[in-house]
């Protein structure tokens, strides 16, 4: 069982897709469910103990999805209101960093605000990459406020996922 699920100050930290620890073990699933229960209970109340909510209050953090098939890993992030020029992506052997700043469209001077649900500011997100990828061939596109990054897997990774045939005896 991963230690980070047991340390209270880590509750509510964004779970990053680091490997696949404990996948499938009932006790881990139970542990995660319990932590989620606590997280959901305190969600939005600002009362969560050891919470990250207070630190990051009002700041913009993009949400990320990650999918993969046998050839590549696709990472997409919601970045509404950003320009491709405002986004910086860097890739190292085992992590992907997305940096940027979300700016407001208009100055608040002389304006009265009724609703302020959106958040702004600069952000950095570091995502561990669970597999070896070909950093040379990584591609990124930005459309309609959604950033999509494609990371092709290395040949040896592709091969390592080969199916093993069973010979009939």
């Amino acid at each position: 069982m991963a230690m980070r699920y047991l340390t209270p100050f880590r509750w509510g930290r964004r779970n990053v897709p680091a490997g696949r620890e404990g996948e499938g073990y009932p006790i881990d699933i139970f542990q995660r469910e319990m932590n989620k229960l606590f997280d959901d209970f305190f969600k939005g109340t600002g009362l969560k103990p050891f919470s990250e909510e207070m630190e990051s209050f009002g700041e913009f953090t993009p949400q990320v999805n990650m999918t993969e098939d046998d050839k590549s890993i696709q990472v997409s992030a919601e970045l509404p209101g950003l320009d491709e020029k405002d986004i910086e992506i860097s890739l190292s052997k085992d992590s992907l960093t997305i940096k940027g700043e979300k700016k407001e469209e208009t100055e608040h001077k002389d304006k009265e605000a009724y609703y302020m649900e959106r958040s702004f500011g600069s952000f950095t997100r570091v995502l561990p990459i669970p597999k070896d990828v070909n950093t040379e061939k990584a591609e990124a596109s930005f459309k309609k406020g959604v950033l999509t990054i494609s990371l092709p897997k290395l040949e040896k990774e592709k091969q390592s996922q080969k199916k093993i045939k069973i010979k009939a005896g």
């Binding site: 999805n65 990650m66 999918t67 919601e78 208009t106 406020g145 959604v146």
Partner: protein, 136 residues
């Protein structure tokens, strides 16, 4: 500092969120987050709708209800497994009740990088004016 008009009360501008009892679509619908600002001449609405297609965005004003709708193109990777997901993909819908007349013909809406901006110019009749006091 311009004098903010007192006629548009925040509680009146409250969102009337989709309170449909029955879902008529097989897709998820999200309520976009918005900022609403006002100055002496206009009301500004900014809505974050990442992934929404420019052509699918629909802004309608019926009587005094302003509705924002947008469809998001389905980006599914057929043989891809989801490793990690923080956001869901679906359409957007949100409606607001306006309790102040606006210049209906001059409402502007623009979609850029997943952000919808709407500018509603106030009708002449409701603009705040300062009345000069004559010295008698």
């Amino acid at each position: 500092m311009a004098e903010p008009s007192k006629s548009l009360k925040p509680e009146k501008a409250q969102a009337q969120e989709a309170t449909v009892a029955e879902r008529t679509k097989d897709r998820r619908t999200y309520i976009p987050v918005v900022d609403i600002l006002e100055d002496t001449n206009n009301l500004y609405i900014y809505a974050d709708m990442p992934g929404a297609d420019d052509r699918s965005v629909n802004v309608t004003l019926e009587n005094d209800v302003l509705t924002i709708e947008a469809q998001v193109a389905d980006v599914s990777f057929d043989k891809h497994n989801v490793t990690y997901a923080e956001y869901g993909i679906g359409d957007y819908y949100r409606a607001f009740t306006l309790n102040e007349p606006f210049e209906r013909d001059k409402i502007e809406a623009k979609m850029k990088n997943g952000v919808l901006s709407i500018i509603l110019p106030k009708a002449e009749a409701v603009k705040t004016r300062s009345i000069p006091i004559k010295v008698g």
